[in-house]
């Protein structure tokens, strides 16, 4: 059923019902094919722009002069420094745990709200309210929340305040992702199921969820990633907890090199996340294949 834009074009000379002459159709298709090739390669080039630095990072992490252009001399100095000074472990753990929690909350809230919005009458205003925090620069949002929590509510800041800061940042993204899918969702499927006697939960789990799954998973993933790398709001709201981006930011003003963190640790993290994320997406697509 899936038609392909590029191939399986009907034999131009035999095309039925078309108002174009065979030759013109062939020529326009050829154009399309060229464009398709260009699009793909342009995208891969941009992807390459992301990966050149990462590969370079990994290569230079073994170099004695990582910030120059040359990979020599080879040394393990940065890796030993990274393992000698293990202060980065705790912030990393904190970041991961926090990101997982934020991701889960984003996934649930975005789904609950996202599937409801298309059925509301006041869709526009809720949408506007939800996306409002996206337009506030991170430092400012952090400062505003800091004053609110600390000065007016006189609460002691900690993991909970970072959590809310990250939630405010990531939820609009997750919500928009779910909305993209929810706006295409055919409600008559649910009506039909209701008529057939399915309960509300049943309707959700067996009809809505499978269709919305890419968006729901995407929402959770976005929530996780946005929280994991978030810095400006964390600067204001962290209390005594330290997240990984915050740790790297405080270290940036140190009078000694951060190369062990920025080169060696980054390379290690890359090597670790590659198989994990690869497995994750493979699993996702394999499951989708079956259903």
């Amino acid at each position: 059923m899936t038609a392909r834009l590029a191939d399986s074009a009907p034999d131009p000379l035999v095309t039925a019902g078309t108002t174009f002459s065979g030759r013109r159709w062939w020529r326009s298709l050829q154009h399309a094919q060229v464009w398709i090739r260009i699009s793909a390669w342009l995208g891969f080039l941009t992807l390459g722009l992301t990966y050149i630095p990462i590969i370079w990072l990994a290569v230079m992490s073994f170099s004695g002069r990582p910030l120059s252009g040359i990979p020599k001399p080879l040394t393990l100095r940065w890796y030993t420094e990274m393992t000698d000074d293990l202060r980065w472990v705790e912030p990393l753990e904190t970041s991961i745990v926090l990101a997982v929690i934020v991701g889960l909350f984003c996934m649930v809230i975005a789904t609950a709200v996202g599937r409801a919005i298309p059925r509301l009458r006041r869709r526009g205003s809720v949408l506007l309210l939800a996306t409002l925090p996206m337009f506030v620069p991170g430092l400012t949002m952090g400062a505003a929340l800091f004053f609110f929590f600390r000065s007016y509510l006189t609460l002691k800041l900690g993991e909970w305040s970072i959590f809310f800061g990250h939630l405010v940042w990531a939820l609009p993204f997750s919500l928009l992702l779910v909305l993209v899918l929810a706006s295409r969702f055919d409600h008559r499927l649910l009506e039909a199921a209701a008529d057939l006697g399915a309960s509300a939960w049943h309707r959700f789990w067996h009809i809505e969820f499978p269709i919305m799954r890419p968006a729901i998973v995407g929402a959770g993933l976005f929530g996780f990633l946005l929280s994991f790398t978030e810095l400006p709001r964390t600067i204001f709201l962290h209390g005594r907890t330290v997240s990984m981006p915050l740790f790297q930011w405080t270290q940036a003003s140190a009078h000694h090199s951060q190369v062990p963190l920025t080169f060696a640790l980054a390379s290690v993290m890359f090597a670790v996340t590659l198989p994990i994320m690869g497995g994750f997406f493979w699993f996702l697509f394999a499951k989708l294949d079956r259903s």
Partner: protein
Amino acid sequence: MDGPTEHRQSGATRRNVLKGAAATGAALAASSIPGAAKAADNVIRGYGVNTGALKDWGLFANSTGLVMDYTETNTDPGVFIRDVVANEIGEDYDFFVFDGGMEDVLGPQGIFLEVDQSHPELTLWDRTSTDFKYAGITQDDEGRQWGFPMVNNADSFGFWPEDLDIADPLAPTTWEFIFESEKTRGRVAVDKEWAVTMVHAGWWLNTSGQAKIADPTNMAGEDAKLVADYLVGRKKAGQFRTFYGGFDEQVELLGNKEVAAITCWEPAVIEVNLQNNKEVVFYAFAEYHYKWGHVFYIPSQAANRANLADIYKTANYFLGGEYCAYQAIERGYVGPNSDLAIEYAKANDWPAEHIEIIKKSGSKVNRKYAIPPFWGDYVPPNGDVMEEEFQRVLNA
């Protein structure tokens, strides 16, 4: 140790209460916890800038019998003030380490504890020279002692001698290479912080006779505008390649010869030479230097703590030879008693070149301090004006 006399170039205005700035609405008074006796364990908790930390706190444990729990922060005064005043972390920490100048703002407010100079644990206090003890960065305008000196240095700039056509890199040179020289046009980098670059420019204008700035570390409206205009002019003329952000950037810019001269920290020069395995870049000795120092402060909440004696013991350790020696080797910085550092190194059979480095640091510092320097200040009263004017420079 006799050092030259220097005078604090400070603004005469009284520092204002800063409580209101950090905590809006409900004013948060920094409260001292009456009678709260902390569980007397041997852990001592510190919060301060990364430069104050030793790479290996085990040395500290061996010397004092205390275990150090040091939380690092960066040099952003806004972050520090917010944490100390609004977040009241003085309840959780035993000491703070930050750039000098902070005591003028936070001392009179009651955030810090006025230190007891005759405390029995301060065995090294009397032998510390007055130039360090009573420097402007440890005392406020009324002479109250708020802190103990730790590391300090006199910053200038790093450079490639051959690019500047300098035959003898150790001879006195000039800040002209940073601001005006044709040889370095477009090949100079300066700090992105207004508290550093504006001050450097102000002192250069004074030294070169182009203007008369009353106090470059704390410039009021007219002076700030003048300096900013000068910097805008230099920027438009293409003098500056970039405004750098951090240590690795300094190493990269200098090491890759992207710039010929850069107003950096001394460890950056050391790192570049280390990576090249020989001395290729040098740290300048010029008309003036930006003197800065870290200071050990005690929060007022610690007044009645059970481990107050331990806190003073820690302060005493930072005045001593071991700390000073390690700072000299690792960063080229100097502590209040560098002769003790040499003694320590000799007593512990350090290799000769390390002892040389410590000696050189000490003598270098003496040379630099002989010139009337100024103490840098990250929180001057006219900070808001200086910051505003510097934004014009960045926008140009």
